[in-house]
Symmetry: C2
Subunit: 591 residues, 2 copies
């Protein structure tokens, strides 16, 4: 049910309706948008601060420009709620029953006013230059506008974009939305200079945009809709690229979000009156904490660790490390490529770097992992999180990590099956000096096993249970799935061997060739896309033997916010489905 039938937004079906609004009405709509952002995020969670800060700039854009003839490209698009409300999608914010009908990121299938599925940072300038040049090449018209926030500006591709924008000679408007903050607090380097620019009303000499060859204007009050309208009118139809440096207040209109911008960048459901969590976090055990505790112990024992994140401390709760061990902690801003090569430099000169990477963003550093980390085989330790089949949006799908990381030489990509094995692997990784070690943080609630202090210099698969018909190989957190399958098979009078392969990148050839020799069927289970992953490596090893193998994992496809239970069903990853498939195959082999 529409909670606000009285809102002006109900009458706004698109940009044409925005243009009819008086200044007073624009102010009212701004208030409505803010209220709806807060109301929806409070109910279902979402990006808060970025959307509250960009309200007036978005209103002004649709007041001045003619979307989609004029085109706006949002960086990350986590600030596109106001844009969605003004382009025919207000229902997705007015009516809780329709909250799910409008996605949180831009999506060209949802509206002609959106371009691109986006979720990673620093892409908008590159996309906009491409659109501008295509416009020129094909004889189209219309303005092209890119929006990028200050947090995204440290990403290499954003800077590559500014350089190429500076080389371009046609119409292009870059709105630099400077809310003085990225996801985490940013400081030093370019960010101190941006502060100086703001404080000098855009007059300070050290201007990154001008140094890229770009025209530049500063707008001190980006949260004043009239100011923004005039600023955009001034540049509409401009014949060359220009940067509008717009000073905005992240979280504007919601006091808790202004006071703590980092916490309110994205927020889970909360009580509007005081910002407290609707479902307060319960202090359950988690793998992040187990890792941080081990690293803390080693730092306190004098080990020269450097904990590194590329602007995602929240993913692992790294603020705790920053507070306790400031000398051993470095947030390099949004700069995944840099984080890996920088870690290699630390390792060369005697420190022990520990990288914390979110699987989906780690993709940005693929070349650096190969060329700097693996080829030079320095003992950098990396923790990869969210390498798993999940209900994430397709822009943040994390299950490509096995294809990305397990096919690179010199790297050991370890896949612990429980907390104790994780600690054992981490301790070994930090002790050895031969090679980069990546540890795949298991998904799901913490599982415990036997304490160990293994040496992983040579990978030995661990046979947890011996059977003789089927061998079940469960990688990492899917070892637990293997345990369930083995138990189900036993109920069906099928004896199974259960194996923990330990590593996703190195196969214990002796063990698996013996397994191929001794079993009728091998089954692999991996919490990842199978293409290029663990199962295929094992397939190649045993392919000459002719022992049949069934591989289980995700298909090579993008999935967008699909519940994990649905994905498991789709991929035959429930114990019952696996057992059915195994029984059918055994029957076929025996027929």
């Amino acid at each position: 049910m529409n909670l606000h039938p009285d809102y002006l937004l109900n009458k706004i079906q698109g940009p044409a309706d925005v243009k009819k609004l008086s200044l007073d009405q624009l102010h009212q709509v701004a208030d409505e948008i803010r209220h709806l952002v807060i109301e929806k995020d409070a109910a279902v969670g979402g990006h808060l601060g970025p959307n509250l800060g960009i309200v007036e700039a978005t209103l002004a854009f649709h007041y001045v420009f003619d979307s989609p003839h004029d085109k706006v490209v949002w960086d990350i698009s986590h600030q596109s709620y106001p844009h969605k409300m003004l382009t025919g999608r207000a229902y997705g914010f007015l009516d809780p029953d329709r909250y799910n009908d409008v996605t949180p990121y831009s999506n060209q299938d949802e509206s002609p006013h959106d371009f691109y599925r986006v979720g990673h940072t620093s892409t908008s300038v590159a996309l906009a230059v491409g659109m501008a040049k295509a416009r020129d090449l094909t004889g189209q018209s219309g303005d092209i506008v890119a929006v990028i926030g200050d947090g995204s500006l440290s990403g290499g591709m954003a800077l590559e974009g500014l350089n190429n924008a500076g080389k371009y000679h046609g119409n292009l408007i870059i709105i630099f939305n400077d809310n003085q903050m990225s996801i985490d607090d940013v400081n030093g380097g370019m960010f101190d200079q941006l502060t100086t620019l703001r404080e000098s009303n855009g007059e300070a000499p050290n201007n990154l945009f001008k140094a890229m060859g770009l025209d530049y204007r500063y707008i001190a009050d980006g949260n004043d809709v009239e100011t923004m309208i005039n600023a955009l009118k001034d540049v509409k139809g401009i014949d060359h690229p220009i940067v509008l440096h717009v000073n905005t207040l992240k979280g504007k209109g919601y006091e808790p979000a202004i006071k703590d911008e980092e916490t309110w960048h994205w927020h889970s459901p909360f009580k509007i009156e005081d910002g407290s969590d609707k479902a307060p976090a319960t202090a359950t055990e988690n793998y992040d904490q187990i890792i941080k505790d081990e690293l803390g112990n080693q730092i306190e024992a004098g080990k020269p660790l450097m904990v590194i994140t590329a602007a995602v401390p929240g993913v692992f709760g790294l603020d705790e490390m920053k507070e306790k061990y400031p000398n051993n902690y470095d947030d390099v801003d949004i700069a995944e490529q840099y984080s890996v090569t920088y870690a290699t430099g630390l390792a060369e000169n005697g420190a022990r770097p520990v990288l914390f990477q979110n699987s989906t963003f780690f993709q940005r550093a693929y070349d650096q992992v190969i060329h700097d980390m693996a080829l030079n085989h320095y003992p950098v330790v990396t923790i990869v999180k969210n390498g798993m089949i999940s209900d994430q949006s397709s822009t943040h799908q994390g299950d490509w990590d096995l294809a990305m990381l397990s096919n690179i030489p010199n790297i050991e990509y370890l896949a612990p099956t429980n907390a104790e094995e994780l600690v054992s692997m981490l301790q070994w990784a930090l002790k050895q000096t031969d090679k980069p070690v990546i540890i795949r943080e298991p998904a799901g609630p913490v599982v415990h096993g036997a304490a160990s202090t293994n040496d992983y210099s040579t990978i030995k698969a661990q046979v947890a249970q011996v059977g003789h018909q089927v061998a079940i190989v469960g990688l990492g957190d899917f070892f637990a799935l293997g345990q369930k399958v083995v138990a189900e098979l036993a109920k069906n009078k099928i004896t199974a061997t259960l194996i923990n392969p330990v590593s996703a990148s190195t196969l214990d050839k002796d063990t698996f060739l013996k397994v191929a020799d001794n079993h009728d069927l091998i089954v692999t289970l991996e919490d990842a896309s199978m293409s290029g992953g663990f199962g295929e490596h094992l397939d190649r090893l045993v392919a000459p033997t002719g022992t049949p193998v069934l591989n289980f994992g995700a298909e090579k496809e993008f999935t967008d916010v699909v519940p994990v239970t649905d994905l498991y069903e789709r991929y035959h990853l429930t114990p019952a489905q696996i057992v059915t498939d195994v029984k059918a195959k055994l029957a076929e082999l025996n027929s």
Copy 2:
């Protein structure tokens, strides 16, 4: 034999000897170094311009600093010949018999004065900041110096590095070697502003380095050794990061290299007197030209193509496209990430982008290929070159492309086996609008086949010959190897089916499952690392059938300038070896 026993360089065993030289002797050594660079490159080929430009800066570094206590990190390290000559490795330049004893890039196994195997650009600042922080963390001393050229500065990671250098508070010296030129000519964007900086003796306001929060000094004559010594003395032991913007002349000391910097960045063997090639290029047919001719035809027919390179036009001879079709050509500088996302923007707005990528550098854009190109399934067309087993240095190994590209959804990674199939695929790729298509440019001399105008919307494997014992599946340029193997097998009375799988990323399941059903053995051949590659995908498809498979390709390992014939021998890739393996497997199956 040492060609120059009279050279002062013979007496220089390391930096300590450099420090004893008088100014006159320094000038003499500079002349000697230049002569040796030219002499060795003329004989065996190598980087010329970058090494000639950096002579005085290198001499000054070793005169002022105490390597390896003080550490210098070279970007790409294609300018490290003078450094090698001054650190005990002059023999590799003085004596043609020892030319191969000194490698062309930095290599920590070769000398304690080298750090890192490097060959990709834009890494030096990240590595140096890492070394500096490790120094602080572990209580070491010594200056850390990074050297980076202007061409590398457009690369995103270099800019991420400057931002992080600007956030750092200890000793760090960044020598920005501005020879006013990267590999190709650079212009617009940051490069126009760098020109303004040079012309104003470093005083112009638009200063990229200062905008990153860095201290800055300009040195107008970087090819004067006394100037460079004084400049480095001034900053030695400095307590904060500083950029020394050093103006140098690329190719200094060799007239042809000054006149045509692009051609002389790297050069094959030449005659010193006039710079002419020792082995003039013969105008043989090549796949580059076949591709360019097809694109030229389409541009002339009015198709809105945009040919894009990230600063490697020479790899494909793209200068020809630039000259003929300037509106349809864009060199985005060293910025591989940008090139892909920019291409997506072009495709969204109606142009038809064609990316030319060198396999090893394309790694930089892995995330952009997934997140911008594949997820958004715009019809970007990409040509990948040097995806093959080769004698390249390990920094430039190109055979990871199947693992990188064939495991990403929505992308068709086509592998043509001959010129006509390549043209057919390219024509289809540019006609369809459903998805990104990548074409793996075949290695080796051009092979011809039947002309065709296929539709590759559905991948159909092509059965070139029908047998019944063994099925040989030859991907791309290894289809020719498959033909040889089939012929050899026939001599051994073994009948073989020969199949061209057409795509490296999509398997024709029906065909291959029938093949598994009808044959005793399947053999896959791929000119790539097998881990994560084509053979493994096929293994997974047929694994449930129990039909044995032998996969042939490269092992997962870095190889450094190993002759291809040796690698083929090592990987059992000669027809004779494959036939031997097949016969042994068939005998085993029949026993």
